[in-house]
């Protein structure tokens, strides 16, 4: 099953719409609620990162019987040093982003914590690709 959503950079009122729709889909598919929470928290963090740090992007989701793959591609400034960005507390968020309740440098570590697989590739001045996968049958 495939889904695609667009994400607008800078538009905080729409941030989370993809995650919200995915949550409804996963509920209909009777995925375990703890697994759903891990998936949507990771996707929401990634979605908010596009809104907060990039110009525009899209979310591509592929659900199979045993796993979900989520790819977020954005056009934006890119991440110069990914291992630095992964560190808890590292953030370049603007004051506008902080006023929305974000920008503590906790998102990427939280995505890693909630995913079974996470890979980030980025080109400075072009954009970032975040790939996440979560197994659907965990006990």
């Amino acid at each position: 099953m495939n889904f695609e959503f667009n994400v607008e950079g800078g538009n905080f009122t729409k941030a989370g719409t993809a995650s919200s729709q995915l949550k409804k889909i996963l509920k209909q598919l009777n995925v375990d609620s703890k697994v759903i929470k891990r998936i949507v928290v990771a996707l929401y963090e990634a979605e908010v990162n596009i809104v907060a740090h990039a110009y525009s992007g899209k979310v591509i989701i592929d659900i199979s019987t045993d796993r979900i793959d989520m790819v977020l591609e954005d056009e934006g400034p890119g991440i110069p040093d990914i291992s630095l960005a992964m560190q808890q507390g590292y953030s370049t968020a603007s004051s506008a982003v902080r006023e929305m309740g974000f920008g503590a440098g906790m998102g990427l570590p939280n995505m890693k914590n909630n995913c079974d697989e996470l890979t980030i590739t980025s080109e400075v001045g072009k954009g970032t690709i975040v790939k996440m996968a979560v197994c659907l049958n965990q006990n």
Binding site: F12, T13, A15, G16, S19, S20, K23, S33, K37, V40, V41, Y44, E45, V48, M100, G101, F102, G103, A104, G105, M106, G107, N110, N113
Partner: protein, 114 residues
């Protein structure tokens, strides 16, 4: 503790979710930082916050938090109330400060997350 008791204790006003006042909460998390709220793994949480915007509701939706108290007279907007209703959430507005509301709930037995 039942939401009904929380409302009484905080002398607060229910804005959304009037049908769920018998719901039980066990933990309270007091924060204006949504990044932090997204790391919580516990269930049956009451969120105390001074941050009243749409992302407060979205973050709660993703974190499976159904109970939100806005402190210090922060008001929920119609968009926030609509999104909360779609997700069967309880929104409560209270005049007390974060400190006072936290103290009252802690004393009454609600547990901290960390």
């Amino acid at each position: 503790m039942k939401i009904r008791e929380v409302v009484q204790l905080l002398n607060a006003k229910v804005i959304s979710g009037h049908d769920y006042l018998e719901a039980e909460v066990e933990y309270t998390f007091a924060s204006d930082l949504m990044s932090d709220v997204l790391t919580i793994e516990k269930e049956n949480i009451l969120l105390l916050t001074g941050l009243a915007n749409l992302q407060t509701i979205r973050t709660s939706e993703m974190s499976e938090i159904s109970n939100i108290v806005f402190v210090r007279k922060k008001k929920a907007t119609p968009e926030m109330i609509q999104l909360a209703e779609e997700n069967d959430m309880i929104l409560i507005e209270c005049d007390y400060s974060m400190f006072k509301a936290s103290g009252l709930l802690y004393t009454a037995g609600l547990k901290p997350v960390y």
